[in-house]
Symmetry: C2
């Protein structure tokens, strides 16, 4: 594969080149990993710094409808929009939250939109890593907005937040007066909470839910570098296409503020450090599984420990010595 040519065609805006490059990224074959590294290096520094928006929401809050309506609104304003996903569950279910294109029928036909399902790998770390690299490709391909969605399985929100400039939490109107069991950690990551389905009969419930979350957000520690109004909770209706423009304006206000104040760059640098650390840790641990000799040794020592012939402490020290990693 001619990597230089592929890079050039991605920068030139060829969607098929972008799709092919993401397929390369998702491969676990060592030669493909090598080509991926070369491609990412060739694309380093090209393109603009798109606005990366992380979007989390459990099934049923209308995430697909939101992405469709929100994406259509943005492309209607001449913006180029890429939609990626981090969904470790897609490997298990065989499908993907974005796999069903009929759920985003209009957006998937848009010339200025690019939709890519979550890579189907079992481990969250692997999925997140591939998606982060795909985000870099989308930036090189000159997209203005990269939406990264997640269903919020396990740590997936944290992973998405670590690759996004803004983190949006999408919720549905709640029935009672409870906070829908949203984990505090997720609340703390959110820059903007959008209560969807604020239309028809659900409008009053949506407004109540919004007010509750606005209250809860006030109790959380504010990010000192952000404008006072953030994080904030708003109502939208993806179905009625209501409130989306206002939500977009708020996102742009926060994004512009952070870029002006240098916090955008600081955050991106922190994220780069985070992913570097993640990759090194993942690579270290991978050796245990990938090197046949190490795997055999792990198995043998594990059996010795299991039958009580050796303590965990002694066996692990022996293994670490073989790995050249001390005790």
């Amino acid at each position: 594969m001619d990597i230089a040519d592929l890079a050039q065609r991605i920068v030139g805006g060829e969607r098929r080149a972008l799709a092919r490059a993401i397929t390369l990224i998702e491969s676990t074959r060592p030669d493909h990993r090598e080509q991926t590294r070369a491609l990412l290096e060739a694309l380093r520094g090209t393109g603009r710094q798109a606005l990366r928006i992380g979007l989390s929401g459990t099934p049923g809050v209308g995430k697909s409808t939101f992405i469709e309506s929100f994406g259509m609104m943005l492309t209607g304003q001449g913006l180029r929009v890429a939609v990626l996903a981090v969904d470790p569950s897609s490997a298990r279910s065989g499908g993907s939250i974005l796999g069903d294109k009929t759920r985003m029928e209009r957006l998937s036909r848009e010339r200025n939109a690019f939709i890519r399902p979550s890579p189907s790998q079992s481990a969250l770390g692997g999925v997140a890593r591939r998606t982060r690299e795909a985000v870099a490709l989308c930036e090189a391909a000159d997209f203005d907005v990269v939406l990264i969605e997640t269903v919020g399985v396990g740590q997936s929100e944290t992973m998405v937040a670590e690759m996004a400039d803004l983190f949006i939490l999408l919720l549905a109107p709640a029935g009672g007066d409870e906070l829908q069991g949203v984990k505090r950690g997720i609340m703390e990551m959110a820059d903007i909470i959008l209560v969807n389905k604020a239309d028809g009969d659900l409008k009053p419930a949506a407004e109540r839910t919004r007010a509750e979350y606005a209250g809860a957000l006030r109790l959380l520690r504010r990010r000192p570098q952000d404008p006072k109004a953030f994080p904030k909770a708003m109502c939208v209706s993806a179905l009625a296409e209501d409130g989306l423009q206002t939500a977009w304006e708020e996102m742009r206000i926060l994004d512009a503020w952070r870029r002006e104040n240098g916090h955008f760059d600081i955050r991106r640098a922190e994220q780069a450090r985070f992913w570097f650390g993640e990759e090194v840790r993942r690579g270290l641990l991978a050796r245990l599984d990938e090197d046949p000799q190490m795997r055999a040794r792990m198995r043998a020592l594990g059996e010795e420990v299991a039958r009580g012939g050796m303590t965990v402490a002694v066996a692990s020290q022996a293994m670490l010595a073989e790995l050249g990693a001390g005790g």
Copy 2:
């Protein structure tokens, strides 16, 4: 320190020797780790296979009262009971769930009881590892029952389940008809669910809660090797010391069954393999933090990535090559 002598005194039932050995285990000093390994090796195969009971319950369910009443009942029957804890939050709060001895006043004065608070380390992995080693010491010291409690922060239940023969989930009577937001994964680990506070006005609510959980447990996949009646949900009152004997008998029935059918040994062997893998992975990753040269190199490459001079993929490959771990 004379490790052989210390080992002998632990086996001889000297509580002070046991306490001192656990302090040694909790130390992170390399020479102390070396002594710990020697001590654990010296004690390997001594003592009996105590019944290790994992006990999880969020604050407010009456965990301390339960341990006090349950422990007193067991010591009253001539059994020797050790109580350990896995509580990663104790490092942050400075205190420990078991630190306040007044909460288990009677049990802490019992000659046949040994209570040890959670080691105060910030990372769950470290806390769990030390506690697992302390469990081995308690077995060598010939305790009949080792209770390992956790408040259920993050993954701590999983860690406790990986060092216990039985896993007990303690709950309080619920107000409404909801399952108290107990995570499905925790439910699946439980061998017995105990609804505490089944006394006075709360008795009907406790019975309702028990029935709900009994129903929920029926929906979960049963462990095919266990008797049909398990997992089960029961009511107890730690305060009124009611139902504790019945609960204990159920624990013994399940334990006896598993020992007879070989599943006790199979599970212990699996757990040994698990902790061996954990120790090796932890040791591998620790090298990044502990080796000053590697730490400096990580920092330098991290900065290069942060300022955009290198991609994460290339920098992590370079680091892994230096660590001798391939790409």
